[in-house]
C-alpha cells in the first residue's frame, strides 16, 4: 500500500467542487508504519476495497478523536474509495463522531430496559452535575453527554459507556460521582465482568479468574421519572 502523498491529498485533480474543510495539517494526516501494516491486514480480509472502510474509519477516529471531512478524505485516499462513499458510511453510523466531542463521551443508555430502572435519572443527574444538556460538551472540553440507544446490558441497568469503550454497570448516583472524579484524574474505568446469576449459585460468583473488576447483577434501583 502506498502512503497517500500529502501534496495532492486534499485537492486531488479528480474531485470537483470546493476543497474539503481543513482541521488537521498535512503533517498530521499520515499513518505510521504500524498503522499501515494494520490497514494492509484489514484490506486483505475483504474481497473489495470498500470492505475495510469501517475498520479504517475506526482507526482514524481513535487517532484523530473525530472524523472531520479532511480525515474522511484521508481515509478515502488510503483505501482508494471515493470520498462520497466513505462520507456516506461515516454519517450512517452513530459511533463515528462527525463533530468534535469532549475528551470523555458519556453514552447513557435510556432505552426501555434502562428507562424503567432509572436511566433517565442518571442522565438528568449527570446533566445537572456537569451543567450541560445531553448532546453538549462542557466548557473545559472534558465531557460530552449523550442519550444512547440500547447498549445491550439491560440486565445490569442503568448503565453507561465511556467514549465507545468500557461499560459501567449498575449505576447509582454515588457511582456516577466516583466515575467523574476518576475521569477528571484521567483514569478510564477498566473492563467489568458481570456475573451470571446462575453462576452465583453454581460457582460462588464470577466464572472468570482473570478479571479484576467484577460487577454482580443487582436489584435495579427505583426510577424516579417513570413512575
Amino acid at each position: 500500500m502506498t502512503q497517500p502523498t500529502n501534496g495532492s491529498l486534499l485537492q486531488p485533480d479528480y474531485v470537483p467542487g470546493e476543497p474539503v474543510e481543513r482541521h488537521f495539517a498535512d503533517a498530521d494526516l499520515v499513518w505510521t508504519d504500524d498503522e499501515q501494516k494494520q490497514i494492509a491486514t484489514f484490506r486483505s480480509e475483504y474481497p473489495t476495497n470498500d470492505g475495510a472502510v469501517m475498520k479504517v474509519l475506526w482507526m482514524a477516529q481513535n487517532k484523530f478523536s473525530w472524523l472531520p471531512p479532511d480525515v474522511i478524505q484521508f481515509v478515502a485516499n488510503t483505501i482508494e474509495v471515493p470520498y462520497a462513499k466513505v462520507y456516506g458510511v461515516a454519517t450512517f453510523y452513530t459511533q463515528y463522531f462527525k463533530e468534535k466531542k469532549g475528551k470523555f463521551v458519556l453514552d447513557i443508555c435510556t432505552c426501555f430496559g434502562c428507562q424503567v430502572c432509572g436511566g433517565y435519572d442518571i442522565l438528568h443527574y449527570l446533566e445537572e452535575k456537569l451543567g450541560i444538556e445531553k448532546g453538549q460538551t462542557t466548557d473545559d472540553g472534558l465531557f460530552t453527554i449523550q442519550e444512547a440507544e440500547c447498549l445491550g446490558a439491560c440486565g445490569s441497568a442503568p448503565m453507561l459507556q465511556v467514549t465507545n469503550g468500557p461499560y459501567v454497570h449498575n449505576l447509582t448516583k454515588e457511582k456516577v460521582d466516583g466515575l467523574i472524579v476518576d475521569l477528571k484524574a484521567d483514569k478510564m474505568p477498566g473492563f467489568q465482568s458481570v456475573t451470571l446469576p446462575q453462576d452465583e449459585t453454581d460457582l460462588g460468583g464470577n466464572r472468570r479468574s482473570d478479571t479484576e473488576a467484577v460487577t454482580e447483577y443487582q436489584t435495579p434501583p427505583v426510577s424516579e421519572t417513570i413512575h
Binding site: E45, Y46, P47, T48, N49, D50, G51, V53, M54, K55, L57, W58, V81, K85, G88, V89, F92, Y93, T94, Q95, Y96, T110, C111, F112, G113, Q115, V116, C117, E149, C150, L151, G152, A153, C154, G155, S156, A157, Q161, N164, G165, P166, Y167, S193, V194, T195, L196, P197, Q198, D199, D202, L203, R207, R208, S209, Y217, T219, P220, V222, I226, H227
Partner: protein, 453 residues
C-alpha cells in the same frame, strides 16, 4: 376442522427444568480460555466431524435439521433448513457464512455472555457450519458498542488459529476455513441480515429487497448464510450429544436450550440458561421475583419489537414460538422485560418509538416518516397535550407502516405501539384530552361531525 387445543395451559413445557444442566454456559470456571475449553471436551465435535468423518456435510445438515434447532436471533427459522438452501458448491464462486452478533434489540443481552464466557463454543459452531456448507470464509459481525467483547473474541479466534482449529488444513485435513471478526459502529439495522451484508461490504447499511435471498445472492453477490451467535453455539452440542438429545429438550416444535435475558423490575436480572418452553411465571420466580414484591403489569417477552403482553395474557404462557404466538406476541430473542404495576406504559411506549425513530435507516418513507410521527404523537400524549383521537391516528399510522417497507423494522416499530395501545388503551386515554373540536361549532354555526386533522 377441529379446533386445535390451546397451547396456553399454564403447564410448563420445559420438563424437569429445576434440575436442568446448563450446556451453552456450563458452570466451568474460566471456560473462555482455550485450555479449559479443550479439557471440558471442547473442539471434540470438530475433531469427530472434520477429522474422523462422523458426518459428511450433507449428513451434518440433516442432523441439525433433525434436531429441530431454530434460529435464536428472532425469526425462529429452522437452521438446518436454512443451511440446505445453499446452492451446490461451485469452485468458481466463493461462499460466505455470517455470524450475526449485532444484538441491538433492546432487552437482549445474551450473545454478549457467549462472547465473554464461552467464545470457543461459538467458534466451534462456526467451523462446523462452514464444514456443513463447504464455506471458506466466515465473517463474525459484532456490534461496535461491544468493542471490549470484540477484543475477547479476537483473542479467542487467534488462539484457535494457533491451535489449528481455524485456518488452512484444519486438524491436518484438506478442509480450510477462516474467521474474520468484523465490528460495526452503532446501527440497530445491521442486525437485519441483508443490511448486515451491506455493512460488511462497507456501505451504508440499507436492507436489500428479498428475493434474491442471501443463499442465492448474499455478500458480494455470492451465496451466503446468516446465523445468530447462539444458534451456531448450539451446533457443537448437537454433534456431541445427538439430534435426539437436543429435540428432547423443551417443547417438540421449538426445542433446545435457550439463554433468557431477564431485565426490568426484577430482583435478580441477568441471563439464565433453561430449556425453551419455560413458563414466564417460573422465569420470574427464578429471577428472584418482582422488585419490591409488586405485581406485574406487563411482560415484553422477546425484545422491543415483540408486542407487550398484559399479565393476564402472560401468566400462563410459555416461552416458545407457538405458544407465544397464540398468547399474542412472539419469542423474538427471548429477552424478557418485566414491568411492574407502577410502570407508565405511555412513557414506555414513547421510548420504544424514540428508539425506532432513531434507528430507522431512512431508506423507505413509511418507516422513516412513520417512526417519527409515532414518536411525536406519543410524546404529545405523554406530556398531556394529546387528544383521544390521536390514539386512532397512531393505529392508522401503524397500518400504513406494517408490511410496506423493504425490511421488517417498520413492523417492529409499529407492533409495540399498536399492541401497547390495544392492550393498555385506558391508560393511554387517561392521559389524553377529549377531542378538541369533535363537536365544536364552525364559523357558519354548523357542527363539525368528523374531526379532520
Amino acid at each position: 376442522m377441529a379446533e386445535a387445543p390451546s397451547l396456553i395451559t399454564g403447564e410448563s413445557k420445559a420438563g424437569d427444568w429445576r434440575n436442568y444442566e446448563r450446556v451453552i454456559l456450563p458452570p466451568v470456571k474460566d471456560l473462555h480460555k482455550i485450555e479449559v475449553y479443550e479439557e471440558d471436551g471442547g473442539y471434540s465435535a470438530l475433531k469427530a466431524v472434520v477429522k474422523d468423518g462422523k458426518f459428511d456435510p450433507a449428513a451434518l445438515t440433516d442432523e441439525v435439521k433433525a434436531s429441530g434447532l431454530r434460529g435464536r436471533g428472532g425469526a425462529g427459522f429452522s437452521t438446518g433448513l436454512k443451511w440446505s438452501f445453499m446452492p451446490p458448491v461451485d469452485p468458481e464462486k466463493p461462499r460466505y457464512l455470517c455470524c450475526n452478533g449485532d444484538e441491538s434489540e433492546p432487552g437482549t443481552f445474551k450473545d454478549r455472555q457467549i462472547f465473554e464466557y464461552n467464545p470457543h463454543l461459538m467458534i466451534e459452531g462456526i467451523i462446523l457450519a462452514c464444514y456443513a456448507m463447504t464455506i471458506k470464509t466466515c465473517y463474525l459481525y459484532i456490534r461496535g458498542e461491544y468493542i471490549d467483547y470484540v477484543h475477547h473474541v479476537q483473542k479467542a479466534v487467534d488462539e484457535a488459529y494457533a491451535k489449528g482449529y481455524i485456518g488452512k488444513n484444519i486438524l491436518g485435513t484438506d478442509f480450510s476455513t477462516n474467521i474474520v471478526v468484523h465490528y460495526g459502529a452503532g446501527a440497530y439495522i445491521c442486525g437485519e441480515e441483508t443490511s448486515l451484508m451491506e455493512s460488511l461490504e462497507g456501505h451504508r447499511a440499507y436492507p436489500r429487497i428479498k428475493p434474491p435471498f442471501p443463499a442465492q445472492s448474499g455478500c458480494w453477490g455470492m451465496p451466503t448464510t446468516i446465523n445468530n451467535v447462539e444458534t451456531l453455539a448450539c451446533v457443537p452440542l448437537i454433534v456431541n450429544r445427538g439430534a435426539a438429545w437436543f429435540s428432547g429438550i423443551g417443547p417438540e416444535r421449538h426445542p433446545g436450550p435457550v439463554l433468557y435475558g431477564i431485565s426490568g423490575h426484577i430482583n435478580k436480572p441477568g441471563v439464565y440458561e433453561f430449556p425453551t418452553g419455560m413458563l414466564i411465571r417460573d422465569l420470574i420466580e427464578v429471577a428472584g421475583g418482582v422488585r419490591g414484591g409488586k405485581s406485574v403489569k406487563a411482560v415484553v417477552p422477546g425484545g422491543s419489537s415483540t408486542p407487550p403482553l398484559t399479565w393476564d395474557m402472560a401468566k400462563d404462557a410459555t416461552m416458545d414460538t407457538e405458544t407465544l404466538r397464540e398468547a399474542g406476541s412472539s419469542m423474538g430473542t427471548a429477552g424478557l422485560c418485566i414491568l411492574d404495576e407502577d410502570t407508565d406504559m405511555v412513557a414506555f411506549t414513547r421510548r420504544i418509538a424514540h428508539f425506532y425513530h432513531h434507528e430507522s435507516c431512512g431508506q423507505c418513507t413509511p418507516c422513516r416518516d412513520g417512526t417519527g410521527w409515532l414518536e411525536k404523537l406519543l410524546s404529545r400524549i405523554e406530556s398531556g397535550e394529546g387528544y383521544t383521537r390521536d390514539l386512532d391516528l397512531l393505529l392508522e399510522i401503524c397500518d400504513q407502516m406494517e408490511g410496506r417497507t423493504v425490511c421488517a423494522l417498520a413492523d417492529a416499530a409499529a407492533w409495540p405501539v399498536r399492541w401497547g395501545i390495544r392492550r393498555f388503551r385506558d391508560e393511554f386515554a387517561a392521559r389524553c384530552k377529549a377531542d378538541s373540536f369533535a363537536s365544536s361549532e364552525q364559523g357558519d354555526g354548523s357542527v363539525e361531525a368528523q374531526p379532520v386533522l
